[in-house]
Amino acid sequence: MTPEFHREIGMPRVAAIEYPYGRPVGQPNDKEGQRNVLVKALSVLQNAQLPGQVVHLPFTWPEAPQDTQWHPPEISPIVKLFLEEIKKAGAEARK
């Protein structure tokens, strides 16, 4: 889901997918879509020869990020606790 974390901890094999949090295999009740993702993920296991391989799966989520619901109904406790720092990090990144 977030292959960037590979740079922090090093993972043996990663099948990276650009799907929203909470739905890494796909949409509910989309059997074919889920199967396609899983077959590709299995092929990463089958083909990886060396530790640390990150394979970027070619799937595209059908909704734009602003239209994609993945957030919890309430802001999470840790985000609430660090909200000011998070806003500051965002402001710095926009500079």
Binding site: R23, P77, I86
Partner: protein
């Protein structure tokens, strides 16, 4: 669909401020330490799988993950795990996770823990077998000491008893 050059942006769905805050802790350079490695020893069609997710799924007959304590102690995440039998369906489970919308998993467990898809793969001979037990833990772990020292060895021990040879991990 066939965009071969796609590079996954793991933060695509995250608000930009949160992305910036989390990214500050991720190194810019590639990982250079040792990475554990166990080669796949058999074809997939002969391999026994288990599934593990960090989504906070529990059987309704088991206690839920403790999100109430996390609400009181925002840096704490429940370090325990729950066994999820491979025949489990949506009607058997509850999901407690304060960092995602859990509704999709309750609607179709396969979006997170693809039990039904792997049972189909077993029936079709794509994999050898799905082990009787799969697992959920709770992914928010700022300090994973207990998770690593106490919880994961329990999972490993049960996987060894069920002759698991490969695991699909699905992060929430």
């Amino acid at each position: 669909m066939a965009d071969r050059a796609k590079i996954v942006d793991g933060f695509r769905f995250m608000p930009p401020s949160l992305r910036a805050w989390i990214s500050k802790d991720i190194p810019a350079e590639e990982y250079s330490g040792d990475i554990p490695w166990t080669p796949l020893k058999k074809p997939l069609s002969e391999t026994t799988f288990s599934l593990v997710t960090s989504a906070g799924i529990n059987l309704k007959t088991d206690p839920p993950f403790d999100i109430e304590r996390e609400k009181r102690e925002p840096a704490w995440g429940d370090p325990s795990m729950r066994e999820i039998p491979s025949t489990t369906t949506e009607t058997d489970i509850d999901v407690n996770h304060l960092h995602i919308d859990t509704g999709y998993i309750k609607e179709d467990i396969n979006v997170m823990l693809p039990l039904r898809r792997f049972r189909e793969f077993e029936d079709e001979g794509i994999i050898g077998r799905l082990a009787p037990t799969c697992y959920s833990f709770y992914g928010f772990q700022l300090d994973p000491k207990i998770l690593l020292a106490e919880t994961m060895p329990k999972i490993v021990s049960k996987m060894q008893a069920e002759h698991v040879e490969a695991v699909l991990l699905t992060p929430a």
